[in-house]
């Protein structure tokens, strides 16, 4: 699954090949179908684990510190890290682009990742911007998530990490990100 996740993060869901994956892990492609009957099953499992990993990372961020700025920095940094490590993308960001090709079970898990991000950001905004009402916070959370995914997408195309850094900084200067 680690190998498959890396493949999807670089080449997308459509770019993931059972045969190539099999070669990499040293078995035959037919054997993978024993563990994941269809490509959709594998994709859904990848997105589910990815969301769970993200969940525990974001939770630990809030436990390890009470500095709100550090939470936000930890958030934008995890997207930054994917770019630094082999110019990869967020698994669910790249899958969102392929949404029309995704089997329903994969779509569900990709949506779950968006929900996680919006939920976490909404809670953090509750601490940063206590004056905003719940609905405004949720809209803001979704906007931040969308903007960060967009920054990652464009910076990856540019192959230039400084594009990501500059864009995030511009979001902050404009007041979108706390």
């Amino acid at each position: 699954m680690a190998v498959a996740r890396r493949m999807v993060q670089t080449r997308g869901y459509n770019g993931l090949s059972f045969r190539e994956l099999a070669k990499e892990v040293g078995i035959k492609s037919a054997s993978i179908h024993y563990h994941f009957p269809t490509k959709g099953d594998l994709g859904a499992a990848l997105a589910k684990r990815y969301t769970a990993d993200g969940q525990s990372y974001l939770n630990s961020l809030r436990q390890d510190s009470s500095d709100l700025n550090l939470w936000i920095k930890g958030y934008t940094d995890v997207f930054r890290m994917a770019l630094v490590n082999d110019n990869r993308m967020c698994l669910c960001g790249i899958m969102a682009a392929e949404y029309d090709d995704l089997p329903p079970e994969v779509r569900t898990e990709v949506d779950g990742f968006t929900d996680l991000n919006v939920r976490w950001l909404t809670e953090v905004l509750g601490a940063c911007r206590p004056k905003l009402n719940q609905e405004t916070r949720e809209s803001r959370a979704l906007a931040i998530y969308a903007a960060v995914e967009g920054a990652q997408l464009i910076a990856r195309g540019r192959g230039d990490i400084s594009v990501y850094d500059k864009t995030i900084e511009t979001y902050r200067a404009a007041g979108l990100i706390p």
Copy 2:
């Protein structure tokens, strides 16, 4: 090319199939290779024309009106339209997600589209925000482009146009978009 562009906008570059495209336009897949020797040639031609169309649209926006707000609305609306028409994405946005799979000639054209957007937005910001220096304008332009692409990406996954509208409105309220 119109059919191919629509296919890429919904399913991505990897989702574009010569055989399927051939069936749709009523010839054999081998015949397409006569006009576009490789898939990369077709992809590059699509992105090039897409950028040219975008160029003339954005130029006409500025000619038809002197209202700066209308320029920005015209800008965000063209991305909105893709979602409304069959939940499609910006051709170069979806291709950016597949960047690692793209042949070099396609990458070049995708980069050209980004350049067009940044150039146009930078000029518009020059009119809207004359106090900003050139470098700040360019960073802001890139950030706006990234944020709008991200909004489109996420809204498409949600299959809900109101998510796009709300996100754009949040960008505006936060001060990212003029």
